[in-house]
Symmetry: C2
Subunit: 227 residues, 2 copies
């Protein structure tokens, strides 16, 4: 398998390219619209055909590159049915599978950061979006965020995966690129709480809204189309 | 093996942590002084003992964390004998090997960006510092840089490694994290030239000096000690 982690410094967002070596079919997870030229060049250089552009959720801090990628490559876009993005080609639900060449990514619903958050699990990796971050987790104070639900998603679903599963998050702000399930279970400071204390902690955070939220959310609900 | 790529956004520098799972012994390549607290915390969390802090060269854009790591952990520092850093614990030469637990990194002299540049090769990966970058290469206009020498280092030494070898550079400015020898041989735009054209191209670049050069170079010649 071809695997590339790609970074957008402006929003500290990770995008992920996975491709099957034999068929040259590819998926991208959480592309950023301002980085689409880079991503298209990489696809072309590696002689890959993009089949799916996947979203872990409706982002509040950057505009998805999914719409542009669909326009340029003819790929399909897909995200959670619960995200309310009618323009997406495929509406994903718990247990669905994205299959591209020899790659299979299982959809795991992991709501709490938003009500339409999903993670993708396959090839020994989980792409957690903003549910589980490295030594942290997504905020729960907007977009129907729910700290109790996020606690359940992380502890019951994500952390039930095998210890050695690599955790690839949607963001990192300190320069970490990857973690593992064992590591996050043991070391993530927010997961050392019981549920009620986790909820109180999350609900007590006083965070500014993301700078680009007013542009990003409407654009992402429209598959990346900016007004 | 435990392997972590770590990023410093301020200087777009990659540091690398490699550790042997059984012995918990670790090496770090190209640590950044402002990120040492993060790196020390990671070492402690993963219960690793740092044996070596390695440098690919005397950096001009950031101050090494090697001196601080030596002070805090008792590790040894090591870089090329040609770098002229007398305070380093070990002076490395072509063919030397860094061995830590089950990890062996072979030293390959790859001068040209500076006269004291080395790459580290092992476990299917090459850490190229600023010699070979993803789709680019290090500049050659200061610190005894020599475009002809860099061309020879890249084409004769680095690109002679197996195609599938993963290339981990010292920097990336566009959000790429990794490449491969096959990919760089085929796709690196600077390596599609003959030597004379490469030298002319590199010598014709008009680049500003790195912002922190006047602080970084003297500090790095003193193992990270700032004046």
């Amino acid at each position: 398998m071809i695997f590339r982690q790609l970074f957008d410094g402006a929003s500290s967002t990770y995008s992920y390219l996975l491709a099957d070596e034999a068929s040259r079919q590819a998926v991208i997870i959480d592309p950023v619209d301002t980085m689409v030229a880079r991503d298209l060049q990489l696809l072309q250089e590696l002689q890959l055909t993009l089949v799916y552009s996947l979203e872990t959720h409706v982002h509040a801090d950057h505009v998805t590159g999914g719409g542009l990628l669909r326009e340029k490559t003819g790929c399909q876009t897909a995200l959670s049915a619960a995200a309310g993005v009618g323009c997406a080609d495929r509406q994903l639900r718990q247990g669905d599978s994205i299959e591209v060449g020899g790659i299979a990514l299982q959809v795991i619903e992991t709501p709490g950061h938003t009500d339409g958050c999903i993670s993708f699990y396959g090839s020994g990796r989980i792409f957690t979006g903003d549910a589980l971050l490295i030594r942290g987790c997504g905020r729960t104070d907007f977009q129907s965020g729910d700290a109790g639900l996020l606690y359940e998603s992380i502890t019951q679903k994500i952390l039930s995966l095998p210890d050695s599963t690599l955790v690839y998050p949607g963001h990192d702000y300190r320069g970490f690129t990857v973690s593992s399930i064992a590591e996050e279970r043991q070391l993530n400071p927010r997961l050392q709480f019981e549920k009620s204390a986790f909820v109180a902690h999350m609900n007590g955070l006083k965070l500014d809204n993301p700078r680009k939220m007013d542009v990003a959310v409407p654009a992402n609900l429209a598959c990346g189309a900016r007004k």
